[in-house]
Symmetry: C3
Subunit: 121 residues, 3 copies
């Protein structure tokens, strides 16, 4: 925990996903909400097959889902969501001819049934 998923439409070819994940993870560390940076597990997925709405205009999206063990306050979740959106805004500039949406979703994971083991190097 936490688990971060970054999804984006593949027409955003210039997105540097390695940089994006490092920036997002750094924002989570900076929040002070997580006791050990190694717990943050993030991945990026490009979607070649996507559709935004039904109009023929060119559109794109970047969507971050952050799954946290349950128990954090609404204020903390709002702040984390805002922090991650700031990173996305910095990473994805507006583009002429492309209507882009950047979204951040927070999800609680049931703490009681979460299982984990670490196999140290």
């Amino acid at each position: 925990m936490p688990q971060l998923h970054l999804e984006y439409s593949a027409n955003l070819r210039s997105l540097d996903t390695d940089k994006a994940l490092l920036r997002l993870n750094n924002a989570l560390v900076a929040s002070g909400q997580f006791s050990d940076e190694v717990d943050i597990k993030s991945r990026a997925v490009a979607h070649e097959v996507f559709r935004v709405g039904i109009a023929p205009a060119e559109r794109a999206f970047v969507h971050v889902k952050l799954a946290l063990l349950s128990g954090r306050s609404p204020e903390v979740k709002r702040q984390l969501s805002a922090d991650l959106l700031e990173v996305l805004k910095d990473l994805v500039p507006a583009q002429a001819g492309v209507d882009i949406q950047l979204c951040v979703e927070m999800l609680d994971i049931d703490r009681d049934s979460y299982s984990k083991v670490r196999l140290p190097a």
Copy 2:
């Protein structure tokens, strides 16, 4: 919002995913539940590595997950789920020798911590 994920087992080679996403998005627009069609963000993912159950029979699945901002009634969610399943039934015909499951799952997204920005074209 909403966010739609279409997943399918890659043995359903004839599935036209571009058409499927457009049909699913059209069904969501037709529901009248969403004020702006541009808010609907959909993607399709084929799974090359999958397993249905433990028997050696050939099996397949199509799974739609629709994530909505929290607050819609159970009736609305049941209706949206049924609408999307109708689209899947129309898109995926029965196939001799393949046991196919079509599923639709509705998921609430925490409205309070959802963040979004739009960068218009």
Copy 3:
């Protein structure tokens, strides 16, 4: 139902995902919680773009998400989670130089709005 997602960082090259899904599905059947083995739908996804934390050390993860129709007890969910983690521990040995995390997350699916149809072979 249930729906199982296995995700893993692509630096775990030796993971046999076909075997992993069969073993995980067998563990679910053995739990006695599911009346028909054909209901278990599992898939595996390798993530080429991932980051664990912010340090430059080599790290890896395997993450299982099991989505169940809502209504099962906390005890049942804890036991299923523990069962799946045992399978992961058996499948993924410790590796010199790689810090590996194995995780299992349980998720409830809203039973009321879940739709499904089966097209038998």
